[in-house]
Symmetry: C2
Subunit: 395 residues, 2 copies
């Protein structure tokens, strides 16, 4: 336990171009807001910040749900919050599994004592709603849980049909929006999603530390009708509701400065406008894909199922995953992600999220990757920058 204080230098991370699976780069305004003086968690000023943050979150989730708050943990805490509040021991839960985060959902269902109904899909493909329909035939699950944007593979899961099947079965629909919220249409109310969660450090471009969550009136009813206490006090939405709602009942000390940061990041989202923001994410994604394919590389996910926010690129045969990522980081300051689980060594995960989704980053990455692959003796076709430029010229 003895230390020498001289071993600890000033913090100095250097500048990174954050194009991994999150965090994304944080705008200066968000950092400035986060640096405002800390006040108490029941200070009248902070209470107004809480109310405004809730309004801005409703705007982003495209919902009127009163119970829309940031939970004081990261995106994984958001996932856990939804399951621990909405599932009681013995209740059936349908989980769509086509990646790391769907798999994690099954782990959480087991821990909360739910009965799992698996709908397995291929990693890198969306799940077929017909498979969902077959899986629930003759059963009455409490909850359907699907990942909208599977960060581990770059797959976008269409939700409309699944929402219909869930509601026909009398079940609630829970959706993971960690890598979609703020970067693409989520339509909580229009699709009929009962519980949604996300993280702050992806398409919202706020530092990690909070998990935005929204519960529909039906989800709140399920919460209020529980027979057993919620296993987690920290994540108990009925207690969190009393702190974030008009009662202002002490539950825990909210991460004040993180909430300042989130509010500012959401203000930036609202200033840009949702449609404009989604169009920007889509355009930069298209340009990246055009460049990658022009280079002779291939995307992992077939075209109609790709996320605009997380681009999974197949690593060409014989190319060393780590060697390329290290060179990107050390020579270009660019972070991209490796794969999780069985896909390790097979794909790179390139995020274009929030503030990081910009034309400059698309070109910095394409040129950096091309240069590194060439210097490592990998055959690459010319023309990536031309192809990406053409996408912007057409827009």
């Amino acid at each position: 336990m003895d230390i020498d204080i001289h071993d600890f230098r000033d913090i100095d991370p250097g500048d990174r171009v954050l194009m991994g699976p999150g965090p994304s780069n944080v705008p200066a305004r968000v950092i400035q807001a986060m640096s405002a003086p800390c006040v108490g968690h029941l200070d009248p000023y902070f209470l107004s910040v809480m109310d405004e943050t809730q309004s801005l979150l409703r705007f982003l989730f495209q919902t009127d749900n009163p119970l829309t708050i940031p939970v004081s943990g990261t995106g994984s805490a958001g996932m856990e919050t939804c399951f621990v509040n909405l599932v009681e021991p013995g209740e059936e839960v349908v989980v769509g599994i086509n990646g790391f985060f769907g798999t994690r959902m099954t782990d959480i269902v087991r821990r909360v004592g739910g009965q799992l109904i698996r709908v397995d899909g291929e990693w890198g493909r969306a799940i077929d709603p017909e498979a969902v329909r077959r899986a629930v035939q003759g059963r009455s699950p409490k909850l359907f849980a699907f990942v909208h944007a599977e960060t581990s593979t770059g797959v976008c899961q269409p939700l409309e049909d699944i929402a219909s099947i869930a509601h026909e079965s009398g079940a609630l629909l829970l959706v993971d929006m960690v890598t979609s919220l703020g970067g693409m249409e989520v339509g909580v109310d229009s699709i009929g999603i009962d519980a949604a969660y996300s993280g702050t450090q992806k398409c919202i471009s706020c530092p990690p530390g909070l998990a935005p969550i929204s519960f529909s009136p039906a989800a709140v009813k399920a919460l209020d009708s529980r027979k057993n206490p919620v296993a987690s006090l920290y994540l108990d939405m009925s207690m969190l509701r009393s702190y974030w709602g008009p009662e202002r009942k002490y539950h825990h000390t909210a991460p004040i400065n993180m909430v300042y940061a989130l509010r500012e990041a959401l203000r930036i989202v609202a200033e840009e406008g949702l449609e404009e923001r989604f169009a920007r994410h889509h355009l930069n994604h298209k340009a990246l894909v055009a460049g990658i394919e022009a280079m002779g590389l291939a995307m992992f996910v077939p075209e109609p199922e790709r996320l605009p926010t997380l681009n999974a690129i197949r690593i060409p045969d014989g190319v060393d995953d780590m060697k390329v990522r290290k060179a990107l980081l050390n020579d270009f300051g660019i972070e991209v992600g490796g794969a999780l689980g069985d896909l390790k060594g097979q794909i790179w995960r390139v995020g274009l999220m929030g503030h990081s989704s910009c034309r400059k980053n698309v070109f910095t990455f394409l040129s950096g990757l091309e240069s590194i692959l060439r210097s490592q003796g990998v055959k690459v076709r010319a023309g990536a920058l031309e192809a990406a430029s053409a996408v912007y010229a057409e827009a």
Copy 2:
């Protein structure tokens, strides 16, 4: 869900003198460190920050425990982490209850399925170790859980005798250090504490958002010998250990900027030195008490059982709690805390924690309180500032 962006102004909390039950005021260096560029949660630079933060936390906890990390939630998440990892359904847990946070422990024990053995004490007094001994006679609890610094009452619980009784019973000892860590001796290793948790926003003077935790080798052994999965994936210490340890296995996206802030706040603690820091907290507390008593007001807790970090002052008969606190906040920018639970309206909770524990704050508070009480027609004796000054003169 429609909003008008013009309704949301720049963040501007104003300056507060934070003398409530936390958060305390945050030094500028901590804010600066928190504002450094965000990097990825597996970035080599961040991994070195994680290692350094762990070393600094071990120094602060006064322990060699390898498993010493900040959990990605606030102090309440720290409490839950300890119980959910160390208690399995049906196991007996001794809880000392003499305030709000001891009471909260009983709620968590119930949620994790533990069998509660209560040791009730008076709110405002330490718990008698003999009552603990009697409560566990003939039983073999898995865990003893006590609050070192009861934030709701200002009581300091001596731990040496309780540690002996716990270990004689073959149980682990868990201690809540939310309002003591960084402000007074905690001696995790010297006392023989098996699990300890705290928050960052009190005597460490970092913004809220992380919960420092330390597990002894015996606690780790209990974790490794579990028969049931830990009910929480987010707070599962065996998974967190794989991320914070040499494996660096992805578990969740750590709150990067909060960890920067914590590391800097701990560096400041180490530069000051533990003994010097504890002496400072003690001195400012003594001066505050001298001033309060000179004014004719009374402390809630008898002298030998008082915390130096959280000072509970009895509200004189006929004085309006809220009116005084509002005047302190609006006219002096001073935040102090009201009471929790049954003590509501009976005490003020005045924190002198971390950066907020300074001579200036003692005098600002004493003069502000005296002025407000006088202007509200309350009879107050003269001489508070003289009495407080005498304490500093003697030191």
